[in-house]
């Protein structure tokens, strides 16, 4: 609310534009201080320069990143290693961080709050060395597994618990159950949870006070009124549950910010459902308009880009799209920041929601929203032996994943088997064994055997994680809004919730499918080179003048995705083998595992782990993305061929294998063309697809921004399951995005 407009009331649209500009300023400052970041847009704000310390840490998703610490907070270790372990210590520390955390009130926003530091970044070492897993490390290394030990969050709370109880009620609940579950584990957990709630109350309460102080000196009437409202709301929310739509948004924002602060959590789930009762009541009473509701949502999303699902089935399969679903879309549309909104596209989808989504996608070119094959994921989930109603309850709440709000622990997106690394082990084993006559069939059986072993190692690793995690870094934040942890006195990672369905994703499908097909064609059928020559080329990373020719020879075969090729057949075989191996048994401790195919941004890191591969990929280049064919898989780059390939390799047990697809904005300018894109989306899901990440990439802008990110600082792209500012990505990740569009030439 700048001075030139001091004389009049600002519109909601003007205020949203100002919030967006503020976010852009914060973001650009982060680029300057922290450099690139290949992950979700974390809406963290940098600590003030005088209390800022830049460090390298491992993110909540296991990615190495640069972060800024707030030096006003000094963590208290409880272990000789310098680490912070267990519920009590983690609770004490997060409470102290919250209590020391500076306040943030933007008089333009209807909601208070921002966060400036990640607690996870102070925790070093992240894993307690007392819990030794060196017995697993050899094979974890051998297969380059993302094994999940120490992984945090990646499941979803039930926000309605908080909406019913408020912080006062939650505190009371903890204290009540403290007397019921008196064992040490429970008591320690209650200590941790209580610290966290007290931290929340202090943090929120100070914002009420800060807003009131600001209001005293505020001369602009609109701003003063807003500040007083913020003060009033936050004073109440220290103890009471929210009563109005705005209060519910404010409550939700605090919860989300703390999740980011604690362990980079950030699942929202079905926001259009759990906010709807507040919306309906306020609208009914005439205290809220659609415009104002959209504004509150925008105020939330500018500070929290978490994953949300719009629409989708209720327990009986009826579509639940409501007015709020549309307002959410409009809020994202007005903001044009990387908001992770997923639109459910089931049989019963409201056609207006789908067509508006496609329209916004083409108009904004931010890759927002994405699309969720909710029928396929709920039916697939039921194949684990659950009622389909439970599958429908699973809410989209992370990059490529869903979870039952408040009732399911999942480790989604944390455990990855790199098919390319497994293939590499198999190939080198075959080539180094004395007296072995190499052949594609032999290679396949070795690949399958190592794939099985790598899944077993993963299973043993997650068991180890489940045994110890509660004593390392418990889920204090998510526990508060889950059904069970407080009631039982057990962390969600240690028996607190009802369902345990652990995610195991495969990655690099096309890399390996194309490698098999290339070997079969060029060595087997055509006899153009020998296995010995091949291994020399691979190990030398296609050396010399002949190397490049051989590389192109191996690369230019009918590839996975082209349709009906041998590589397509291998793609299917790999997906089937992986699915059946993961499904063949539970972990040794009896946890259910659900297969998916998704590499996330780790496609780069996983590629660095693997030397050259027979599909003509150079050493350390990224592996293929999720279940996608490699760019250039067909000369016409037909989206239908892509959609068929990705639909064919779905594991089918409720976890996803998302299709990543890019369109040129020139493709579609008429409503008729957009309808065809909507038809493509629906048909992919009818064929078995589970999720679509769609980009409308303005190639000129992307290429310019790749050369010089500063030319398009606000360009937003859907990198993978998440969307982010293009300029925030590393040059390598930008190259991955660029390759997808230039391959279509």
């Amino acid at each position: 609310m700048s001075d030139d407009t001091a004389g009049r009331e600002l519109t909601f649209t003007e205020r949203i534009a100002m919030l967006r500009a503020t976010k852009m300023r914060h973001t650009e400052e982060k680029w300057r201080v922290l450099g690139s970041m290949d992950m979700d847009d974390l809406p963290v704000i940098l600590p003030p320069p005088e209390s800022r310390k830049v460090v390298r840490i491992v993110s909540g998703s296991g990615l190495l990143m640069t972060d800024a610490l707030f030096s006003g907070f000094t963590p208290k270790s409880n272990h000789p290693s310098g680490g912070i372990f267990g519920a009590r210590a983690c609770g004490e520390n997060i409470r102290s961080l919250m209590e020391l955390h500076p306040t943030y009130v933007d008089p333009v926003s209807s909601l208070a709050g921002a966060y400036i530091a990640h607690f996870i970044s102070y925790r070093s070492p992240g894993w307690n060395p007392d819990f030794d897993y060196s017995h697993l490390q050899g094979e974890q290394e051998k297969y380059r597994l993302h094994h999940g030990i120490g992984a945090v969050q990646h499941f979803c709370q039930d926000m309605t618990i908080g909406f019913e109880l408020g912080w006062g009620g939650i505190l009371e609940k903890i204290r009540r159950f403290r007397d019921v579950n008196t064992d040490d584990e429970a008591q320690e957990l209650y200590d941790g949870l209580e610290h966290m709630v007290l931290g929340f109350q202090n943090w929120i309460g100070r914002h009420g006070a800060a807003a009131r102080t600001m209001a005293e000196t505020e001369e602009n009437a609109q701003r003063r009124r807003n500040l007083l409202e913020i003060a009033e709301i936050n004073t109440r929310l220290v103890t009471d549950p929210p009563r109005t739509f705005r209060e519910a948004c404010q409550w939700m924002l605090w919860y989300q910010l703390a999740g980011k602060m604690y362990n980079m959590g950030g699942s929202l789930g079905r926001i259009d459902q759990f906010l709807y009762p507040f919306y309906r009541r306020d609208i009914g009473e005439g205290t809220l308009t659609d415009e104002e509701a959209t504004f509150h949502l925008a105020c939330h999303f500018v500070m929290d880009t978490s994953y949300t699902q719009l629409g989708g089935p209720d327990a009986a399969g009826r579509d639940t799209t409501n007015r709020l679903s549309f307002l959410m879309l409009e809020a994202a549309h007005m903001l044009k920041v990387p908001v992770n909104v997923g639109v459910s596209v089931g049989r019963e989808v409201d056609p207006r929601l789908l067509s508006r989504s496609v329209e916004i996608l083409f108009e904004d070119r931010t890759g927002i929203p994405k699309f969720l094959g909710v029928d396929r994921t709920s039916e697939g989930f039921a194949r684990n032996g659950y009622p389909i109603a439970l599958g429908r309850e699973r809410a989209y709440s992370g990059c490529h994943w869903c979870a039952i709000p408040g009732r399911e622990y999942t480790m989604n997106d944390c455990v990855k088997v790199n098919f390319a690394a497994v293939f590499d082990v198999a190939l080198h084993e075959m080539m180094s064994g004395p007296g072995i006559v190499p052949g594609v069939e032999d290679l396949w059986s070795r690949f399958e055997r190592h794939l099985r072993r790598s899944v077993e190692v993963v299973a043993e690793s997650v068991d180890f994680h489940m045994d110890h995690m509660y004593r390392v870094f418990p889920e204090l934040h998510l526990d508060l809004l889950c059904h069970g942890p407080i009631e039982k006195g057990r962390d969600a990672s240690h028996g607190g919730v009802e369902f345990y369905n652990l995610c195991v994703d495969g990655a690099g499908l096309a890399t390996v499918a194309d490698s098999f097909a290339a070997l079969e064609q060029r060595i087997g059928r055509e006899g153009r080179l020998s296995w010995q020559e091949l291994i020399r080329l691979i190990d030398g990373d296609w050396p010399g003048a002949g190397g490049e020719k051989a590389r192109l020879m191996m690369k230019n075969i009918p590839r996975y995705g082209s349709g009906g090729s041998r590589a397509d057949a291998y793609g299917l075989s790999i997906a089937r083998a992986f699915t059946s191996i993961v499904r063949s048994r539970k972990t040794p401790h009896g946890f259910n595992m659900i297969p998916g195919i998704f590499s996330w941004a780790a496609t780069i890191a996983m590629g660095k782990d693997v030397g050259a591969t027979p599909n003509g990929r150079r050493a350390r280049e990224p592996i293929s993305h999720g279940p996608n064919p490699d760019p250039g898989f067909r000369r016409d780059a037909a989206p239908t061929a892509l959609a068929l390939a990705v639909a064919s390799v779905q594991p089918g047990y409720g976890n996803t294998a998302p299709m990543q697809i890019e369109f040129d904005p020139g493709l579609s300018r008429s409503s008729e063309d957009m309808r065809k894109v909507a038809d493509l989306i629906r048909t992919h899901f009818e064929l078995g697809g589970t999720q679509i990440n769609m980009n409308i990439l303005d190639r000129k802008a992307v290429l310019e921004a790749h050369r010089d990110p500063a030319t398009h600082p606000d360009l937003v792209v859907r990198v993978t399951g998440f969307s982010a500012y293009f300029a925030s990505l590393s040059p390598e990740m930008r190259q991955v995005v660029v390759n997808r569009i230039i391959a279509e030439d």
């Binding site: 239908t640 063309d673 038809d679």
Partner: protein, 319 residues
Amino acid sequence: MRGPMTGTGLVFHIQRFSIHDGPGIRTTVFLKGCVLECFWCHNPEGRHAYPEVRYFPERCIACGSCVSACPQSAHALKGGVHTFLRERCEGTGACVETCFAQALQTSGRLMTVAEVADEVDADREFYTSSGGGVTLSGGEPTLDSAFALAILQKCKERGLHTAIETCGECPWTSLESLLPATDLVMMDIKAMSGAIHRDATGRGNGRILANARRLALSDVPLVFRTPVVRGVNDSQEEIGLIASYIRELAALRQAAAGSRGLPREIRYELLRFHRLASDKYRSLGREYRADSIDPVPEGEMLGLLETARRAGIDARIPQ
């Protein structure tokens, strides 16, 4: 180029998820060979009815494989630089097989009707959900009308919606033979004035206009199209004449329909020429005469559309 006994034809491209060649999501099959020589043609690789070698120098890694593969010595490698002596090329494609860099590619592949139909069939679910189907384009699909008919029939048997894109310069019997298996005809009228037409395409338009009239008298849904090219047909006068002719045809159809009930639609589309084909011309070693022609500005296109509409026909600019 087709062996009538073998049921094959020369296809230079199959484009799936084609969304600007008729209703719904479609697959467009491009048949090679055309009789007109429109100098702006954006599919020059479809003009000749024989396979051609295309060369993309930026992909060449100078490996030399093509040099030894070519029986005509059409490839040379000197000082690490490859040159393609196109005048020697007889289009055997022996070099293409050896070029793993895909710097050499053949345009034109003999395919059987079943092969084409299978490729088309791959996207069946998408046609069903979107009301799409198959479109035969070119080149000029009526040039090998037996092959075209066989594809259309096979697709119809499989329940697909079928369309053709034609320049109209063909014996009426060729076009007529396709109609029983065709659900939509899209036909170009590039100019009304014979002289302009001849200048721009190498042939007059008498037969095209006559074919248009016969099509109007048939019952097939029709879309007439004019690629609007700067300096050729971008005048109010020319578009006005075309539009009037189409109005006449619509009236003819109306009168002929009489007892049969409502006449099927006749629409008109103005397509804006874009200078997109220079790489294609380069790869074929041909001059792109339209390279210096700018697209007609959008405002002028709207003016032309207005003119067409004033003639009283259903006209639009797609996209």
